[in-house]
Symmetry: C2
Amino acid sequence: MDELYHLPVFKHLTPGGRQRLESGTSIKQIKRANRILYKGAMASGAYIVLRGRLRVFSISPSGTEATLYFIDPGETCVLALNCLFQDLRYPAWVETETDTRVAVVTGPVYRRLFTEEASIQNLTVKALSTSVFRLMNALEHVHFLKLEHRLANLILSGASSNGTLSMTQQEIAGHLGTAREVVSRLVKSFVENNYIRTGRGMIQITDARAMADMVSGEIP
Amino acid sequence: MDELYHLPVFKHLTPGGRQRLESGTSIKQIKRANRILYKGAMASGAYIVLRGRLRVFSISPSGTEATLYFIDPGETCVLALNCLFQDLRYPAWVETETDTRVAVVTGPVYRRLFTEEASIQNLTVKALSTSVFRLMNALEHVHFLKLEHRLANLILSGASSNGTLSMTQQEIAGHLGTAREVVSRLVKSFVENNYIRTGRGMIQITDARAMADMVSGEIP
DNA sequence: CGACAAACGTGATAAATGTCACAGACGCAA
DNA sequence: TTGCGTCTGTGACATTTATCACGTTTGTCG
């Protein structure tokens, strides 16, 4: 439970707020690749990621998935907040990418905290608004950018500091909402241009500049 | 200015809140088809629509537009809120669909109201979260549904109570982010199936049931 | 090592959408 | 009525993406 207070958000709670928070929070440890929310589920509370990573995605009628966004430590699941505040059902799927630890604050407690604690108000508004931005971005990209550009974007933004992305092409295809074969071909074209090198389950950026140019979509 | 208090949101302000609101609000009347915000602009405050309708859209590198969503009376522009709370630049374009009257609350005043007035907190969170839902929906549709289905959806959800949609095919294409010719062909196929009838600048639904079936995307 | 599964490559082909070019139809205003 | 501008219809075609059907490589584990 102390782990909660490591997060900046919870450092400035009033004593009363702390007490309320603790009474209404349970911490869950979930192994990787587990679905924790389904489309249509009632969200049981606010989810705050402590460690690991959640992936929020939607599933098409034909079964292919597409990632909407991720939730990293310190962040909270916006959709669950939505459900809490608007009393709606959950509109997507969520699963753990890696082993993940989440704090679940029950709905009533969270709502109460929201009215009383400035830091919770901030967390909430910021979470919602980052989410709006991400979604807008995603929407723009899906609308206007070719897969090539979206892939370049994914590789750049998903790569670790040393320029490596550890994902199978199948996973990448899932994130972009397309098929593995398509990814394979695009990757191949990147390799031929010496933008990247590839290995099993990983991509290594060699020409970050060129990739960045792709992302902008301004060299179509 | 009285007009403000017709909105449910502002009915429950504290006296101090009212005063602050009035000191920081200006009301603007804008003619139809005027751009009021550009991508990259700094939002000067919170926009609350009193009458008329705003359209929020993005523009692709190649110039085609696509509607993200509308803002109707009583609603507020979420993106501007984002900008206020996160100090970002505006990520899309906004223009008036019809003659529109908006109340603009300056950033500092709005932020202050947010910390002090429960009703403003609610407005904000609800606005943000509806927006998240709309965007999620749009994103899912763009990802997974064929244009045919998205068009059916637009026609149904845009039609007035008598089943008529007053829009040129060019406008429709703009909303869907596609080309007029494509719309023309899809419309034609709907007409051939007797789902709709068409006239210059309008579409009349004749078989709402069949259209609704299309929307679901479950009869591909 | 050998075998097995997972990851990747590739060709052929179909479907959906975008683009270009132009013709016809409609409605308003002079 | 006669233009003229806007809206719509349509054919031909290029591109992009999806799908199917394989074959090949790579890593892991008994």
